[in-house]
C-alpha cells in the first residue's frame, strides 16, 4: 500500500540515482546506440551526412580486408591470452611457494610495472630491443653476434610488448586463486601418497583454474583493443582492428565505416568471449567435480 512516507522514499531514491543514470545514458548507452546508427550514414568532403544507406555495410561485408584484420585481431588476442597465462602461472605459483617470503616486495614491483603507463613501457622496449639498445649489448657480451636482438619491428616484438603489458592481470588473479587453496588439501594428498606433481595436477591446478580463467578473460578483452604494441614494436606492418578503426576515424574521416568496424569488432569479440566463457565454465565444472569426488 502506498503511503506518503513510501512515496517520499521512492522519490528520494529516484533523485539520488538520477545523476548516475543520466551519466550512464549520456556516455554509455547513447554512444552504444549511436554507433550502429552511424553505420548507415555517409561522409562527403570529410563531413558526416545523415542520409540512410547500406553502402558502408556492403563495403565491410564484401571486402575481405576487413574480415582479415578482425580475424587477425582475434587470433592475436587468443595467442596473447595463452602466452600471458602460461607466463603468469609460474610467477604466481612461485609467489605462493618459493618466493612467499619475498611475495610483498615482488608484488610491489609488479604493481609498479602494472601502473606504469603502457606507452612508456612500450617505448622503453624500443630502446631495449634497438640494435644499439641494452638487450643487444647484453647478448653481445654473452657472445652472440651483432644485432642478436634484431626483433624490433617484427610480430615477435609486438607479442613481447602485449604479454609484458598484460601479464600482470593473470599473475594477480592466479595468485589470489592459489592463495585461497586450503593447504590441508595438499597435505591430505601427500598423506595419501600422492607425488608433488600429482598433487599439483589434481589439487592445485584445478582449484586455481578460476583465477587463470578470470585472468585469461581480462587479457583477451584487453588485447582485442591493443594497437600500440603492434604499431610501435611490431613495425605496423600487421595492423590490428583498433589501429584500422583509429585510421578510419582519424585519417580517412570516414565515421560510418569506423563505426561499422567498431560494431563488427564488438560482435566478433562478444562471440569469442562467449566461447571462452563456455570453455571456462566446462573447465570449472570439471574442476568442481574432481574437488567434490
Amino acid at each position: 500500500m502506498s503511503t506518503p512516507g513510501n512515496n517520499r522514499r521512492h522519490w528520494e531514491l529516484w533523485i539520488s540515482v538520477l545523476p548516475f543514470a543520466l551519466l550512464l545514458v549520456l556516455f554509455l548507452i547513447g554512444p552504444m546506440v549511436l554507433t550502429p546508427l552511424l553505420t548507415f550514414q555517409e561522409t562527403k568532403l570529410y563531413q558526416l551526412r545523415w542520409t540512410w544507406s547500406f553502402d558502408t555495410w556492403s563495403t565491410v561485408l564484401s571486402n575481405p580486408t576487413y574480415s582479415a584484420v578482425l580475424l587477425r585481431t582475434v587470433w592475436t588476442a587468443l595467442l596473447s591470452t595463452i602466452v600471458c597465462v602460461v607466463v603468469a602461472y609460474p610467477v604466481a605459483y612461485a609467489l605462493n611457494t618459493r618466493l612467499a617470503a619475498w611475495s610483498n616486495q615482488v608484488q610491489i614491483l609488479i604493481i609498479f610495472a602494472f601502473l606504469t603507463d603502457a606507452v612508456l613501457k612500450t617505448f622503453g622496449w624500443v630502446l631495449f630491443l634497438d640494435v644499439h639498445g641494452v638487450g643487444n649489448w647484453l647478448l653481445q657480451k654473452l657472445g652472440f653476434g651483432p644485432g642478436a636482438t634484431n626483433i624490433l619491428f617484427t610480430p615477435k616484438a609486438a607479442m613481447l610488448g602485449i604479454v609484458y603489458n598484460l601479464a600482470p592481470y593473470p599473475i594477480f588473479t592466479i595468485y589470489l586463486s592459489l592463495a585461497r587453496i586450503d593447504p590441508d588439501l595438499k597435505h591430505a594428498a601427500y598423506d595419501a601418497g600422492a607425488s608433488k606433481l600429482r598433487t599439483f595436477l589434481q589439487i592445485t591446478l584445478p582449484l586455481s583454474l578460476p583465477g587463470a580463467i578470470a585472468g585469461a578473460l581480462l587479457v583477451f578483452v584487453l588485447s582485442l583493443g591493443t594497437f600500440l604494441e603492434s604499431k610501435v614494436l611490431g613495425g605496423g606492418t600487421k595492423p590490428l582492428a583498433s589501429e584500422l578503426i583509429r585510421q578510419t576515424f582519424e585519417t580517412r574521416v570516414n565515421w560510418p565505416l569506423g563505426a561499422a568496424l567498431t560494431f563488427s569488432l564488438v560482435l566478433v569479440a562478444l562471440a569469442a568471449l562467449l566461447g571462452l566463457v563456455m570453455i571456462g565454465s566446462r573447465l570449472r565444472i570439471g574442476a568442481a567435480g574432481r574437488e567434490t569426488s
Binding site: 539520488s16 570529410y46 605496423g236 578510419t248 574521416v253
Partner: protein
C-alpha cells in the same frame, strides 16, 4: 540536536531548487581573475603553441590561449566541421585543410590588402595572390611553414646517387631497410608519382589499379610502417633503416639542426614524366565563428614576423622552413646549413606543390587493404 546520516541525505524539492538556484547564481557571477583578459581558441600543430611563439603575443595583448594541439590534419578538420568551428578562432594546419574551410563554410576570408605588409615579407613564390590558399578568388589563410617530401637517408650508410629515383623502395637489396611513415597519404604520394601517375587528377579504375600495384610492391619490401617520428629517426641514425619514405624535410631538418649533417633528404629526379618531390605547406586561417575578432587577425600577423617565424622554424620536435624571407637573416651559418637552404631551390624545381588530392580516400583505402593483406 543529533544529526543522523539520513538527515544529511534528505533531499526534497525545496533543497534541489535551492541548489540549482545557487549554481545558477554562481555561474552568472563574473570571474574577477579573467575579467580583463581576452581569449583566443587555437587549433594547431606542434610548435605553434610553444611559449616562444605565444608568450610575446600574450604579453603585448593581455590574451590567454586555449590550445587544441592536433596530430592529424583530417581529424582536426573533421572536428571543426562537426561544429567545433563555433569555438575556435584560428587554425594552423596543412594547407589543403585551410583551403577546404572555404567550401565547408566556416572560413573567415582574409583581405589581402590588410595583410600586404606580411605578403611583402614572404619569398616571391608565396606572395599574393598565392593560388593554393585561394577559394573562388578569396584568401583562406597565410602560409606559415613549408618543406618538401622526399626520402630521408643517412649518408653513412647510403648515397644520394642511389636515390636518384624511388627505385630502392622496391629493390630487394633494400629489403627490410625501408620505412614507410604511417602518416596518411604522405608515404603514398611518392609511390604514386614514381609510378608516373598524377595524383592531382581524378583517377579512373585503371590508374587506381596501378596505385594498388605500386603500394603492394612497396609494402612487400618494407620493414616497418612507423608513425612515431623519434623512432623512425632513431632507426635511420643507427642504420636499422636506410630510407624514410613520406617524410623529407620534416624528418630530416631537426636531426641536421642537432648536428647530424649526414642525414639528408634529396628529391629524386623526374621519373615517368612526373616530378618526384612534393612541396607541403602549413597555413594559418581564421575561423568564421561569429566573433569577428581583431585579436585573431593580429595573432596571424604575429605568426609571420621574422623573429616568431624563426621560433616556428626551430621547435622542440621538428625543424621546418618558413615563408618569411627575413627569418633567414636571423639564422646562423650552421642553422642555414642545417636547413638545407642552398638546396631548397633544387628541391622546389623537382617538386609539385601539394594541392587537394581527389582520390585521397581511395589511396588510403588501398593502402589499408594491401597492409591488411600482407
Amino acid at each position: 540536536m543529533k544529526h543522523t546520516l539520513s538527515y544529511y541525505h534528505r533531499i526534497n524539492r525545496r533543497t534541489v531548487l535551492k541548489g540549482f538556484g545557487a549554481a545558477a547564481a554562481g555561474a552568472a557571477l563574473p570571474s574577477p581573475s579573467f575579467a580583463a583578459t581576452e581569449h583566443l581558441n587555437y587549433m594547431c600543430w606542434e610548435g605553434y603553441d610553444s611559449p616562444a611563439v605565444l608568450d610575446p603575443f600574450k604579453k603585448d595583448h593581455d590574451v590567454e590561449f586555449s590550445v587544441d594541439r592536433i596530430t592529424d590534419s583530417p581529424g582536426g578538420f573533421a572536428k571543426l566541421a562537426a561544429g567545433a568551428y563555433r569555438d575556435f578562432d584560428l587554425v594552423s594546419t596543412d594547407l589543403p585543410w585551410v583551403q577546404r574551410m572555404g567550401p565547408a563554410g566556416f572560413c573567415r576570408y582574409l583581405d589581402p590588402a590588410e595583410f600586404a605588409e606580411q605578403y611583402a615579407g614572404f619569398y616571391p613564390q608565396f606572395q599574393a595572390p598565392f593560388e593554393p590558399l585561394m577559394d573562388d578568388g578569396k584568401v583562406t589563410g597565410l602560409p606559415t611553414r613549408w618543406g618538401w617530401v622526399s626520402p630521408s637517408i643517412n649518408l653513412d650508410h647510403d648515397t644520394v646517387e642511389n636515390w636518384r629515383t624511388y627505385a630502392p623502395v622496391f629493390d630487394s637489396k633494400y629489403k627490410d631497410k625501408i620505412c614507410l611513415l604511417d602518416w596518411g597519404e604522405w608515404p603514398i604520394m611518392p609511390l604514386v608519382l614514381h609510378a608516373g601517375i598524377d595524383p592531382w587528377q581524378e583517377l579512373d579504375q585503371a590508374a587506381l589499379d596501378e596505385v594498388r600495384k605500386v603500394i603492394k610492391a612497396a609494402l612487400a619490401n618494407t620493414r616497418a610502417i612507423i608513425g612515431d617520428l623519434a623512432i623512425a629517426q632513431r632507426g635511420l641514425l643507427d642504420g636499422s633503416l636506410f630510407g624514410l619514405i613520406g617524410g623529407g624535410t620534416y624528418t630530416t631538418l631537426n636531426m641536421r639542426a642537432q648536428g647530424h649533417l649526414n642525414i639528408v633528404c634529396p628529391v629524386p629526379e623526374p621519373n615517368n614524366g612526373m616530378k618526384q618531390g612534393v612541396i607541403w605547406m602549413e597555413a594559418t586561417g581564421l575561423i568564421e565563428n561569429g566573433k569577428d575578432s581583431d585579436l585573431a587577425k593580429a595573432f596571424l600577423k604575429h605568426l609571420v614576423k621574422p623573429e616568431v617565424a624563426m621560433n616556428l622554424a626551430f621547435t622542440e620536435a621538428t625543424s621546418n622552413l618558413v615563408p618569411t624571407k627575413a627569418a633567414e637573416d636571423l639564422m646562423t651559418p650552421k642553422q642555414r646549413e642545417a636547413m638545407l637552404l642552398d638546396y631548397a631551390p633544387t628541391a622546389q624545381e623537382r617538386s609539385n606543390f601539394l594541392r587537394i588530392v581527389p582520390n585521397v580516400d581511395d589511396f588510403l583505402a588501398i593502402w589499408g587493404e594491401e597492409l591488411a593483406a600482407r
